[in-house]
């Protein structure tokens, strides 16, 4: 806890730089906050009155996270190099752990704040069960955590702010759009594995097996897509009005539940996040001789 509580770097990244941005262009930021606030309220109103499902609410939150999370981490280390401040920082008595948590902690706090901003949307999602709401929160946060972890590592590795930002956004386009396109290309135009791929899943053991199979047959690149995950979370909540086979649907929803749908993806995101964060931490420890 001391690593976070008495960490001047965390304090600087959370408070110092933020206040500066406000102070420099108060009108710009004031207008932006007002504009975003109005859009926020408008979309919240639309969500509630139009009985929006999880595809809409979590999808919207994920879209914002995809845009915002890279901005929370893309310059954390690169600016130290670009502004030539890293040497002074490296020579202080801050440990590699404190430096790492000072930066990563600030980024994670912003991801958590963004997740909380979407709480009203997720909580008012139409016909969402507790399982689905909790899973949605975790998917949203863990996807953001993964993005800031990769951002933190790239920022350390590439040492260039713009290159890091470009790589993060291009990487997301690749993973979220090109992977599904490639999958569709090789599976005769199917956009996902579909109901038949997992309807045999009848318990948690089968659920685990389904994940292993998805890793082997390539459907994991679809299952791990947070937008696909959000769509299936909606289907778990209730049979869609357009579905023709309610009985079959129950089996599908149960299969998703046995696969710990949403939670399993989050575990993957968090695992990868820990891996990239570990790379960044190791980098600081070795390169900065900490």
């Amino acid at each position: 806890m001391r690593t976070l509580r008495e960490n001047p770097l965390l304090r600087y990244h959370l408070l110092g730089a933020t206040r500066h941005r406000w102070r420099r262009q108060p009108w710009l930021y004031g207008a932006a906050v007002l504009g975003i606030g109005l859009v926020y309220l408008l979309v919240l109103q639309l969500t509630v009155f139009n009985e929006a499902g999880m595809i809409t609410t979590l999808g919207l939150a994920l879209f914002v996270m995809c845009i915002a999370a890279p901005l929370m981490a893309y310059n954390l280390f690169s600016l130290e190099y670009e502004k030539q401040t890293w040497e002074s920082l490296a020579l202080t008595r801050l440990t590699a752990r404190e430096i790492f948590w000072g930066k990563y902690g600030a980024a994670l706090a912003r991801v958590a704040l963004t997740t909380l901003l979407f709480a009203p949307f997720l909580l008012t999602t139409h016909r969402a069960t507790t399982y689905v709401i909790v899973a949605a929160f975790i998917v949203l946060f863990s996807w953001g955590a993964l993005l800031v972890s990769v951002g933190l590592w790239l920022s350390f590795k590439l040492k260039r702010t713009l290159t890091t930002a470009a790589t993060l956004y291009a990487g997301q386009v690749f993973v979220l759009m090109l992977f599904p396109f490639l999958y569709a290309l090789f599976s005769g135009g199917e956009m996902g594995p579909g109901q038949s791929a997992i309807e045999w899943v009848q318990n948690y053991r089968d659920g685990f097996l389904a994940w292993v199979i998805s890793l082997l047959n390539g459907s994991l690149i679809i299952y791990a897509n947070p937008f696909y995950a959000s769509a299936q979370l909606e289907y778990m909540a209730a049979v869609p009005a357009w579905w023709w086979n309610a009985e079959g649907w129950d089996a599908y929803a149960n299969a998703l539940r046995y696969m710990l749908w949403g939670f399993a993806q989050s575990a993957m995101y968090l695992g990868l996040a820990a891996l990239f964060a570990g790379f960044a931490y190791r980098g600081v420890k070795i390169s900065w001789r900490k």
Binding site: P8, A17, T18, R21, K83, Q84, T85, L89, R289
Partner: protein, 308 residues
Amino acid sequence: MLDVQGLRKEYGELVAVRDIRFQLYPGDVFGFIGPNGAGKTTTIKMLATLLEPTAGTATLNGIDIVRHPEEVRPLLGYMPDFFGLYEGITVTEYLEFFAAAYRIPKAQRAAIIDNVLELTDLTVKKDAYVETLSRGMQQRLCLAKSLVHDPILLLLDEPASGLDPRARIEIKELIRELGAMGKIVLVSSHILPELADFCNKIGIIEKGELLVWGAVDEIVAQLQANRVLEIRPLGEPDALIQRLERESHVHGVETRNGSLYVHFAGGLEEQADLLAALIRDGFRIAAFREESLDLEDVFMQITKGEVS
């Protein structure tokens, strides 16, 4: 005490720093002189524990900088040649940041920050935002940051680069004061008059090799084994030149602006004997003096203008 023992840095085939050795004691202000690319910054970065030497080491108060960088870091203050400052915070907040990062107890921070602000003459700017300071003030703030934990060794890499004349003078005064406070100060520069005023020791590095190091006076004295005497005769100098060329200590005579510049290998005794002999021989001498060496002369005599 800083004891540098055969410090060497290689980048592939390139030897950036070649087995450097020197010792500095509290109160020493060491001018580290060399042309651009000579290896000054690499040496300083190794001493600052930011670069690992290929061979050799240094100890600061007995602590090995290679084996125990974490123990040495709190004892040194480092000001890089190109530096940046965290923006969006005030001068006081900036120093508080580093005070906290150096684990100075909260209760002591305010007093220490006041002291370094006073020392660096930044008290009036303590509430100003860092990015609004002039280049000279930012330089002083960087120095203040390096002093906040009261280091015993200060490594200042080109501290006066990019400063206007007033700011240069202020930085010089500050460095002199730091030396007087008993700190070991290592200042690198390629602008020699800058260092001449406040360094008691110098080291001249070229092509990664420390060509000479020691007290300024001693180095000048060593080099003055080959002195230049300026003699201004009254009347035609030809006869005097012929007379001088017969002297065993004289290695050459040049004529410039009516004066003779005599390359003389003897000491003060021999100089006095020469003057007495010339007067005895009837030469009328209007001026007879030894040309003194300054750091620039020393530098020019020692270096060849090569980089590593």
